[in-house]
C-alpha cells in the first residue's frame, strides 16, 4: 500500500482522505466512521468479517447499491452514500 498517495473521497456529502490501496471500508474506519448502514429494524451495522462474506458493510458506491465496501478499493473522487436495506439512498 502506498501511504504517500492520498486522495479525497466523498461520504454522505462529507470529504475524507483515503490512501491508495485502501478499501472504502478501510478509509471509513481510518477516519473514525464505523456505522455504515441501518437495517429495516433500525439496527446499526458496520464492518464485521472484512473479507466480503457477511455483506454487512454494503453501501451505495458511485450510484450502485449493495456494494461491499470491504472488497472495493477507494478511488479518487468516488461518492459513497448510506443506503437502506433495499438499496435506496438514505437522506442523511
Amino acid at each position: 500500500m502506498d501511504s504517500e498517495n492520498k486522495f479525497e473521497i466523498e461520504v454522505n456529502g462529507k470529504i475524507i482522505l483515503a490512501h491508495s490501496g485502501q478499501t472504502i471500508a478501510e478509509a471509513l474506519l481510518a477516519n473514525g466512521l464505523r456505522g455504515l448502514r441501518m437495517t429495516r429494524k433500525q439496527s446499526p451495522r458496520g464492518v464485521y468479517c472484512g473479507m466480503g462474506i457477511c455483506y454487512e458493510c454494503r453501501m451505495i458506491v458511485n450510484g450502485i447499491p449493495n456494494v461491499r465496501t470491504c472488497m472495493t478499493l477507494a478511488t479518487p473522487g468516488c461518492k459513497i452514500t448510506t443506503q437502506d436495506d433495499s438499496g435506496i439512498m438514505l437522506e442523511k
Binding site: R40, P65, N66, D85, S86, G87, I88
Partner: protein, 393 residues
C-alpha cells in the same frame, strides 16, 4: 416424548400440509402427534415460494377448491399468534402476444363464472400498473384475491398453534413401519424415536408419500417434479406483486396445442416466468419443471434459462444481482389434482400430491381431512380427490 405413546391421530410429514392438519385436528380437540423425519419444513415447504393463487388453476373444481382455501388464510393469519407475512396484493399474468390474449379472455370468462375478481388489462393499463414490464407486453390478467406469505413461517406458526392446543410434535423421527391389527386396521406407527398406538394415520409426506403408502401396501402415484428458484438481492421494487407469464399455464399443464416464443432450453426445462416480491424487499424468480428423481441440486442451464426469461419480461433485472439459488420437489400427480382421501386401509388417509399448489391448498386440505376424520360434512366434494380415482383409470 416417551418411547411409547398413544394418540387419536398420527400425522406424517412436517411441511405446510402436515402442520396445517395437526393444527386443524388439535383445534377440533383431537389428540394429535405430528411426526417428521427431519426438521419442520425440511422437505418441499422449505424450498418453495409463498403463493396462495387462484390465477393459475384450470378447471372449475380446482378453482373452487383454491378459493375455499384462500378464504381461510386471513382467518388463520389472525388466529395464529405468529407472523406469517400474509399479504393480499393480487396477482398479474403477463400476456405476451395476441394469441395469448385470446386464451386469457377465455380463461377470464371461466373465472368470472366462478365469481372470481379477475380483469383483463390492456397494453396501456398493464404498463401503468407495472412500469418495468417490457414495452411489447400486450396486456395482463389481474386476479385481485391472490395473496402470498412466508411458507416456513406458516408451518412454524401452525406447529406453534397446534402445540398450544395440545398437539405433540416429534421431529427427526422417521416413520419406519405402520402396523395393522388382525382386521387390517391401523394399530400403531413405529418411528425412529417412538412407537405410537393409534387408529388413524394421515399421510402428508409430500414426495415421500409413496414410501409411507408402501408401509400399508398402498400405491400412491406421486412423482417428484423439480423446480428451481433464483433469489435476488434487496433492491428497489421491480414489481409490486406476484407476476407470472401467461405461458406458465401451458408449461404447468403440459399443453401441447400452444407454443411460446422461447429458447430450446426454456422448453426443455419447462421454464416459465414467475416473479415474487418478498416481505424482505427482495424477490424470487422461477420457474422450471423437470423430472429428475429426488435431486435438489440446481442445474446451471435451468438457472440461465430462468434468468433469461425474467429479463425478457423485466429488462431492468439484467443488472440486479442474484444472491443464491435453490431447488424443491413438487409432489406431482398424473391429473394435477392433490389426493385428499380415505383409503381402503381403514384409518389411513392421504393428504399429498399438491404439486406446486401446496401452500395455497394447505388449509383446505387440513379442513377436509379434519371433516373426514370427525365425520363432518365436507366443505366441498372430495370425489375428484380420491386415491381410488387412479385405480379406476
Amino acid at each position: 416424548m416417551k418411547s411409547n405413546a398413544s394418540a387419536d391421530v398420527v400425522v406424517v410429514g412436517g411441511g405446510v400440509v402436515g402442520t396445517a392438519i395437526a393444527y386443524f385436528l388439535a383445534r377440533n380437540n383431537l389428540d394429535v402427534i405430528l411426526v417428521e423425519k427431519g426438521a419442520i419444513t425440511a422437505g418441499t415447504s422449505g424450498r418453495c415460494e409463498g403463493d396462495v393463487l387462484v390465477c393459475d388453476k384450470m378447471t372449475a373444481f380446482d378453482i373452487r377448491l383454491t378459493r375455499f382455501s384462500q378464504e381461510l388464510f386471513p382467518e388463520i393469519a389472525n388466529e395464529l399468534d405468529y407472523d406469517i407475512s400474509w399479504t393480499r396484493k393480487g396477482s398479474l399474468l403477463a400476456i405476451e402476444n395476441e394469441a395469448e390474449m385470446e386464451e386469457a379472455k377465455k380463461l377470464c370468462s371461466l373465472l368470472h363464472a366462478e365469481g372470481l375478481p379477475v380483469r383483463i388489462l390492456d397494453k396501456y393499463e398493464v404498463h401503468e400498473d407495472e412500469p418495468y414490464l417490457a414495452p411489447d407486453i400486450v396486456g395482463g390478467m389481474e386476479t385481485d384475491c391472490d395473496g402470498s406469505l412466508n411458507p416456513m413461517a406458516l408451518a412454524y406458526g401452525l406447529v406453534h398453534g397446534a402445540k398450544k392446543k395440545g398437539a405433540r410434535v416429534l421431529t427427526f423421527s422417521a416413520v419406519k413401519d405402520i402396523r395393522l391389527d388382525a382386521d387390517g386396521c391401523i394399530e400403531r406407527v413405529v418411528t425412529e424415536k417412538a412407537e405410537i398406538v393409534t387408529k388413524r394415520v394421515v399421510n402428508a409426506a409430500g414426495v415421500w408419500a409413496p414410501e409411507i403408502g408402501k408401509l400399508v401396501r398402498l400405491d400412491i402415484p406421486i412423482k417428484p417434479r423439480q423446480g428451481q428458484m433464483l433469489v435476488a438481492e434487496r433492491t428497489f421494487p421491480v414489481a409490486r406483486r406476484k407476476i407470472m407469464e401467461f405461458g406458465y399455464m401451458m408449461a404447468k399443464f403440459e399443453r401441447s396445442d400452444y407454443s411460446r416464443n422461447v429458447t430450446p432450453e426454456m422448453e426443455k426445462y419447462g421454464v416459465a416466468l414467475v416473479f415474487e416480491p418478498t416481505e424482505a424487499t427482495n424477490f424470487l424468480i422461477g420457474s422450471s419443471r423437470r423430472f429428475v428423481g429426488m435431486d435438489t441440486s440446481c442445474h446451471i442451464g435451468v438457472l440461465r434459462a430462468m434468468a433469461q426469461r425474467a429479463i425478457r419480461f423485466f429488462p431492468v433485472i439484467k443488472d440486479i444481482k442474484i444472491i443464491r439459488s435453490y431447488a424443491g420437489l413438487r409432489p406431482f400427480t398424473p391429473d394435477h389434482l392433490p389426493i385428499i382421501s380415505e383409503t381402503e386401509v381403514p384409518g389411513f388417509y392421504v393428504a399429498a400430491g399438491h404439486e406446486g399448489d401446496g401452500i395455497g391448498l394447505s388449509l383446505i386440505t387440513a379442513k377436509l381431512i379434519s371433516q373426514m376424520i370427525c365425520g363432518e360434512q365436507p366443505s366441498i366434494t372430495t370425489e375428484p380427490l380420491k386415491l381410488s380415482r387412479f385405480k379406476d383409470g
